[in-house]
């Protein structure tokens, strides 16, 4: 009796969250799907009728599409590579005995709490500015010509900014994972005379594999969607137009909603492919 009662109560308590999220997911997504099959130009005639898959074809055949895919892959790949490699190294270092560990941890994590528009603007102006930026001063100090970072090395610059934002995330998660490692196992290996490199390769790295996978997947989902970092630095010029930014431009700047919506559906599919893998891992964890 009591369980029956609490079961129906549970259902009622769950309802608001489920209904709201269902609406939040379905309504806009269905609208995007609807627009994607239309020629829809709000400022130039509005709804101009159904066009079938024309938007989908036009989106992938436009000259901007493949470069944007390439840009997206370079940025996501570059940031993942940097954050995971340095994240592992930094986590290993922070796990060692030292003085002031708590303070160092705080220093390392700090960039994650800086809002994207601030970090992008600070890097753009105070570090990467070819005249007054700190990098320009540093380059001049060593007798080199200052680099025009955001135009000459635009992708590198964006990757640097975004990596700075996400390195703390990778480090923090990997550090948490390292700290859950059984230290007796490591000590035993050390006593058996295993050199530190093989201790890392055979014990630490396999233990970290799951955490690294999670970092890769979560970061990929967020990195596919980076927006503010490009919006306030290059506005998509100098080869920094990602898929997300391209869709944004189609929808809000050129107001070609049909075309942008088709692009949006592509982005949803892409994110879902990554999400499926992440959900598998998270789901497995739920069973424990």
């Amino acid at each position: 009796m009591a369980t029956q009662h609490s079961r129906s109560a549970a259902r009622i308590m769950m309802a608001p969250a489920v209904i709201l999220l269902l609406g939040w997911m379905l309504v806009p997504l269905l609208m995007t799907l609807y627009f994607s099959f239309k020629r829809f130009l709000p400022l130039r005639g509005g709804d101009l009728g159904w066009v079938g898959f024309e938007n989908y074809v036009r989106f992938v055949t436009s000259s901007a599409f493949w470069p944007s895919v390439q840009t997206t892959l370079i940025i996501v790949g570059g940031v993942l590579f940097i954050t995971v490699i340095f994240g592992v190294l930094l986590a290993l270092l922070l796990d060692q005995p030292m003085w002031g560990q708590g303070v160092v941890r705080i220093l390392v994590i700090a960039p994650f709490f800086v809002m994207p528009t601030v970090s992008a603007l600070v890097w753009k102006n105070m570090f990467m500015d070819p005249v007054n930026g700190l990098f320009a001063h540093l380059w001049k100090f060593f007798g080199a010509t200052p680099v025009e970072w955001l135009s000459e090395a635009s992708l590198t610059s964006i990757i640097m900014i975004v990596s700075w934002q996400w390195l703390p995330f990778a480090t923090l998660i990997l550090l948490t994972a390292i700290q859950s490692l059984d230290s007796e196992q490591l000590e035993a290996a050390e006593m058996d005379g295993a050199p530190s490199l093989s201790r890392f390769g055979y014990i630490v790295l396999p233990h970290l594999a799951r955490a690294i996978t999670i970092v890769l997947l979560i970061q990929t989902i967020f990195l596919l969607a980076i927006f503010a970092e490009i919006f306030v630095t290059t506005q998509g010029s100098f080869g920094t137009r990602t898929l997300t930014y391209l869709i944004f431009q189609r929808v809000l700047e050129s107001q070609n909603v049909g075309l942008g919506s088709a692009g949006g559906i592509y982005a949803v599919i892409l994110a879902n492919i990554v999400a499926i893998f992440l959900m598998r891992i998270v789901g497995k964890n739920l069973d424990k």
Binding site: R7, V27, T32, Q96, L107, M115, F227, F231, A271
Partner: protein, 276 residues
């Protein structure tokens, strides 16, 4: 002998970690320092680090010229409002999933997570259109609702992982003693759940404060929070380093402090409980 080696290693570790930590923190430190300089000192060649005439002038200029307080207030309302709203909706849901699980609980949790992974840009126009039609464009209430919905999955998840850790036996004992559902929630669960709810609130405020897709696209002059305010400095006429730094420092300081308190919960919240 062994002891000497460990001390030596500890010194090396300490030096290396501090050097790297300071390097990573440097852009923030530099921003804070620059905010206390005059515009001329801020672009001095060679750059000045500590020995300059410290001034608070930038802070007052930023406030006067751009009405900083309004943006700050918008940020507080939007981040705070969406968090409170989200927690109110999520607590009952997470409670029922943690204590009265059914066969579908896992599927529901995973589905909720999947809504978080939808790329925002994919639904930009529909949301934009709905906002125009309902008059919610550039309003705090509109943005609060959107941020509530995008962070709701994370709130439900975090609360769920915290509630899961509360032993079920205690509930059974309370039930045996004749506690009603309401009493059970109010007197048994709530006190045990408060720490978990507090860290969820903290993390969610941080996420909402820093959200920079919807805040940039759905606001203009009235409801713009600090993310959008800072973005307005990207125009060339806004290129005043000291003022940019002062505005930036004010925008990140509250969250930096909150963030440092919540570093432990951060891992759990951002990995959906997969790493603890």
């Amino acid at each position: 002998m062994a002891r000497a080696v460990t001390t030596q290693r500890k010194i090396i570790n300490t030096l290396a970690a501090w050097a790297i930590g300071l390097l990573i923190f440097f852009p923030i430190l530099w921003t804070i320092l620059t905010s206390f300089k005059t515009e001329a000192t801020a672009i001095a060649d060679p750059p000045v680090f500590l020995f300059f005439d410290w001034t608070l002038e930038n802070y007052s200029v930023v406030q006067e010229r751009s009405d900083y307080m309004r943006f700050l207030w918008n940020s507080i309302i939007i981040a705070g409002g969406s968090t409170v709203l989200g927690v109110l909706i999520a607590v009952p849901a997470a409670w029922s999933m943690a204590f009265v699980p059914s066969k579908r609980t896992k599927d529901i949790l995973l589905w909720m997570l999947s809504t978080k992974m939808l790329p925002a840009v994919g639904v930009l126009y529909p949301i934009y259109l709905i906002f125009i039609q309902t008059g919610m464009l550039d309003t705090r209430i509109g943005l609060t609702i959107v941020l509530t919905l995008i962070n709701l999955p994370i709130i439900v998840w975090m609360l769920y992982t915290y509630f899961k850790e509360i032993p079920g036996e205690i509930l059974e004992a309370a039930r045996m003693d004749g506690a009603s559902l309401r009493e059970e929630i109010l007197y048994v669960l709530t006190p045990m759940a408060v720490p978990g709810i507090a860290s969820t609130v903290l993390l969610n405020i941080i996420l909402a404060w820093n959200e920079a897709f919807w805040t940039l696209n759905l606001t203009a002059a009235k409801a713009a929070p600090l993310t959008a305010f800072i973005a307005s400095y990207s125009s060339p006429e806004g290129l005043f380093y000291a003022k940019l730094s002062a505005a930036s420092t004010m925008a990140i300081a509250p969250i930096l402090i909150l963030g440092w308190f919540s570093q432990k919960q951060l891992v759990r919240g951002l990995t959906f409980g997969a790493v603890k």
